[in-house]
């Protein structure tokens, strides 16, 4: 890359020397009318500018893609698709503009472009074409083979029902085909993608708004007739079998929930106790929850494409639970413990899952007769029960119910047995949601593989193994349960309402009353989480473990005790919150390397990057530097840029302006400078032979002029006798450099200008400089190119002087190149202010380095002139107004 740039610079420098061919061209070119010249210039220059714009845009996007390839920041398919589109359009435009600069010369590039584009397409195309299969499937016909059709949640439920005879709810599932049918009928995916793209995704408030919009869009869409009939047919069949009016639990079941390392905990909505007449509405709400904030954030962080998370919906006959809960067949904080952990509450399991109460907890031996090793009866202040008609009611529990165990020891043992039977069937630890119905029967509501693996890798606090309170540190809060292990510090941020969540700062300690799943989207930003209520089994705890955010739940009164904004340290293992930043060494497993790597989204980016980013065309002089050899978009970009510069700077040698159209600059008296207005460089049309500074509108020319005139030239520096000799010798041996030899351009200095463009060909005695600048408010297309060459002294001194100039300019951000006695400098893409400042510096240099080569043999005087010039440059940069010398 670097050498490519360098070569480009050299090549470009070579071209610049022929630019406009004023003083250097050998072949006379026929003169054109000013009007023709202007039109040709404007047209070409317009294409050249647009090409540079497109070129910069393409390179910017490529850089962005390169950064994302590190895989440390989350991105979605929207990123991959939009960047591909940006690069493709930019590259296509580059080709178009190059072909406008040189008609018909590079049309082969279109074929290369097409060929590369064709290879990119499969990575970014949006899959369509529907899966064929039934729209709905009764639970009796579902088992683990049906995963691709009904999602793992329903497939597991069907599996344990059919093959283990375990009690599960009656019902049916709307399959992936059913949901796809609903989306297709309404063209929903296209509209959703469009809206996702239209919102920058890293701001939480935007994301909340977007999520709400998309969900409303889905809920407002009608269910197609065939799906409606299929669902109603299932409901009817169940009614005939079970009798009475049915109420359903309508739950999400995603095809992605089996993906390793991903829990999807609490992302999707479940609608409980839905009346049969509202089942379709609930279906849409559950489907819409795929675009809930938690779910969208989760996909983004895990590199999942929307299509990777196909949704199905289970419609299960509601189990009116007396007690219910969640159990793990292993300890979520230490998988090596030989125990099961059962969480239980009164009523529906909703309050365990959403972390709103502290449940009863039994830690039970995995061995018969499954004795309870630990038994904690929680403060179950509320319970959720079914309304007889529809909906779920939140009830305050009565005093003795609140502290009464929600399961008997016998029920605990039965539950443990059932759970281990399921575990044995699957051959792996399970995470099971269960319910005890009115008749005392245990019903399994959900079972899925228990993701304890990552938790097991972590250091786990072992009771009695207290690290102790570090010396001199104040303990602000103590107690609670470790929901996710670890230690972290940050400023306290209390979230009471959703509105607070919108402004959650990166790296803060999240403090909440309840460990609600609603706060999950904040975990990507939080240093640690502290809650007054909540359980280890809740969704938030799951997500905290997955994101490796230390979490301490059940610290009552902590919201009062932690002052917002104050830095605290949360030691989740020890159950303490300390004041200030406390260094506690914890042996943590390595952070997950590059979170995006290996995900479907990452693979898509990697695939397209191979076709976009690599640069194979390095050497413009090589015969391989040709359209045929362009294998990536970067190659095409590089090739076109090179050729565009060639074509553009050929303008000068191909065109000659009519001398009489040049206006002489008059600054009190006529100056040795002539100005050609290429477009809008004059404030008005000028009739006479002279133009004054106030009539000139050219931003770059005026900046340059300021630099040239701010400090009067003192004349050549006093020279040593050797220096003087070398001038004489060179002058006699090279008559072409003799200023006394007549040439129409020999003594004239030409500015060609437009409002934002300026080209200066100047020759002072033996010194040539060529400057070209484009400066306007569009930063990306700004550039200055400058060449400084010649001198009357011997070659060594001239080379030294070129180096001197290059070094000076490098300190002002120019990219410089010295070849022989010529210095080439280039500056691109800086703001107008910077460009104007740098032009002043160049203006100063053009005048004041004129005969420096004469003192170049003497190190002491070089040093002297350098510091003198740097000093003067500072004066020039501060000078105000445009003046005559």
């Amino acid at each position: 890359m670097a050498s490519g740039l360098r070569r480009g610079l050299e090549k470009w420098a070579k071209n610049v020397s022929g630019w406009f061919g004023l003083s250097l061209s050998k072949e006379p070119v026929p003169e054109e009318s000013l009007e023709d010249l202007r039109l040709a210039f404007q047209n070409r220059y317009h294409h050249f500018k647009l090409l540079l714009n497109a070129n910069n845009r393409a390179l910017e996007v490529m850089t962005e893609m390169e950064e994302m390839l590190q895989g440390t920041r989350p991105f979605g398919m929207t990123f991959v698709r939009s960047r591909c589109t940006q690069v493709s359009t930019a590259v296509f435009q580059i080709i178009q503009h190059l072909n406008a600069l040189a008609p018909g010369k590079y049309t082969e590039l279109y074929e290369r472009f097409r060929a590369i584009q064709k290879q990119i397409n499969p990575y970014i195309s949006i899959p369509h074409g529907s899966v064929s299969g039934p729209l709905v499937l009764p639970m009796d016909q579902v088992d683990k083979e049906s995963g691709d059709l009904v999602g793992s949640k329903m497939a597991n439920l069907g599996e344990v029902r059919r093959h283990l005879g375990v009690a599960t709810p009656e019902g049916f599932a709307v399959t992936v085909c059913g949901v796809a049918r609903f989306f297709e009928e309404n063209d929903l995916q296209v509209e959703i993608d469009r809206r996702v793209q239209a919102v920058p995704s890293d701001r939480l408030d935007d994301l909340f708004a977007l999520s709400a919009q998309i969900q409303q869009l889905i809920i407002a869409a009608p269910v197609p007739e065939d799906l409606r009939e299929a669902v109603q047919g299932q409901v009817q069949a169940l009614k005939e079998r079970l009798g009475g009016r049915l109420r359903f639990a309508v739950r999400s079941s995603s095809l992605a929930e089996d993906l390793p390392g991903m829990s999807f905990a609490g992302q999707f909505r479940s609608e409980l106790n839905v009346g049969e007449e509202n089942i379709l509405q609930a279906f849409k709400e559950v489907v819409a929850s795929k675009y809930g904030v938690a779910a969208m954030t989760y996909r983004l962080r895990h590199g999942l494409r929307d299509e990777d998370v196909a949704m199905c919906v289970g419609c299960l006959v509601m189990v009116d639970a007396v007690a219910s809960g969640v159990l793990y067949t292993r300890n979520p904080l230490n998988i090596r413990d030989d125990v099961l952990v059962i969480n239980a509450v009164w009523g529906l399991p909703k309050s365990v899952v959403d972390g709103s109460v502290s449940p009863d907890v039994w830690v039970v031996s995995r061995k018969e007769p499954h004795t309870a090793l630990e038994r904690r009866i929680g403060e179950k202040s509320v319970k959720y029960v079914c309304y007889p008609d529809e909906g779920v009611c939140r009830l305050e529990t009565a005093g003795d119910e609140r502290r009464h165990a929600s399961l008997t020891d016998a029920q605990v043992a039965d539950l443990a047995r059932l759970a281990l039977q399921i575990e044995a069937h699957y051959g792996g630890a399970q995470d099971i949601e269960w319910a005890l119905d009115g008749s005392g029967r245990l019903v399994i509501l959900q079972t899925r593989p228990f993701e304890g693996r990552s938790a097991a890798d972590r250091p786990v606090h072992v009771a009695g193994d207290d690290r102790g309170v570090p010396e001199g540190v104040e303990v602000l809060a103590e107690g609670g349960v470790t929901a996710s292990s670890g230690v972290a510090s940050g400023p306290v941020y209390v979230v009471r309402r959703d509105a607070d969540a919108l402004q959650f700062p990166e790296g803060a300690v999240l403090v909440v009353a309840q460990a609600l799943p609603r706060w999950a989207p904040l975990l990507g930003r939080a240093a640690a989480v502290v809650s007054e209520q909540g359980s280890v089994a809740g969704h938030l705890a799951n997500v905290a473990r997955e994101f490796r955010v230390p979490a301490l739940f059940g610290l009552s009164g902590v919201m009062e005790r932690l002052q917002p904004g104050r830095t605290v340290t949360v030691d989740a293992d020890q159950g303490r919150v300390y004041d200030g930043l406390v260094e506690i060494r914890v042996e943590r497993p390595e952070e997950r390397q590059a979170l995006m790597k290996g995900t479907p989204v990452y693979e898509a980016l990697e695939g397209v990057s191979r076709l976009i980013l690599p640069l194979h065309l390095l050497d413009p002089e090589s015969p391989d530097f040709s359209p045929k050899k362009c294998r990536s978009f970067h190659d095409i970009t590089r090739f076109c840029h090179e050729k565009a510069v060639d074509e553009m700077f050929r303008f000068g040698s191909e065109h000659r302006f009519p001398q009489k159209s040049a206006k002489q600059l008059k600054c009190r008296v006529p100056m040795q400078f002539w100005i050609i207005n290429l477009d809008d460089g004059f404030a008005e049309e000028i009739a006479g032979p002279y133009v004054t500074l106030d009539q000139i509108t050219s931003v770059p020319m005026l900046a340059l002029w300021q630099g040239m005139t701010a400090i009067p030239w003192e004349g050549p520096p006093p020279i040593d006798s050797k220096g003087f000799m070398s001038i004489l010798l060179e002058a006699t041996s090279n008559p072409g450099l003799d200023p006394s030899v007549a040439s129409p351009y020999g003594v004239r200095n030409y500015f060609m200008i437009s409002r934002n463009f300026c080209s200066l060909q100047s020759r002072f005695g033996f010194h040539f400089s060529t400057l070209e600048a484009l400066v306007d408010e569009r930063t990306s297309q700004n550039y200055i190119s400058f060449q400084f060459k010649g001198g009357a002294a011997d070659r060594t001194r001239r080379i030294l002087r070129a180096r001197f100039v290059a070094e000076l300019l490098e300190s002002f951000d120019f990219r410089c190149e010295v070849r022989e006695d010529a210095a080439f400098a280039r500056l691109e893409g800086r703001s107008q202010d910077v460009m104007v400042d740098r032009l002043r510096i160049l203006g100063y240099l053009i005048i004041h380095t004129r005969q420096l080569d004469m003192v170049m043999g003497n190190a002491g005087s070089v040093q002297h002139y350098r510091s003198k010039m740097l000093q003067e440059i500072e004066t020039v940069r501060r000078a105000e107004g445009v003046s005559c010398p």
Binding site: Q42, Q86, T89, R194, Q197
Partner: protein
Amino acid sequence: METIRVLLVDDEVEFLDTLLKRMRKRQVEAAGVYSAEDALRYLESSPVDVVVLDVKMPGMDGIDALKAIKERHPLVEVIMLTGHANVEVAIQGMELGAFDYLMKPMDIDELLYKVQDACKKKRLHEKRIQKRKGVEAEEENGTA
């Protein structure tokens, strides 16, 4: 540069109205219509330099509208605007003569620059045509 006459075409009423307001604040003579059909009608009666055209609209879509505009008013420059990142549509649009392709949400200044560039292209194109006509007229005079 003299005033640029822009026609914005988008079925999203709110988006279009905001854009119109912001363009006018930036001294652009902007008009807006909510469909491709209305855009074609508008072009019959009012001179326009640049059309900013949403790709996806109910009724006639942006690509068909682009074809129709380029056929009936070849000098008018068209910038395609879209909510989808769709490479195929983008390239197709440009092959059909669209000046550029922008994805929503775009920076208003970025759009403005593109509008200026597109207009500049149109002006240069017009100048060249005028010039050619001038040359032809001279030749005719010469032979007559």
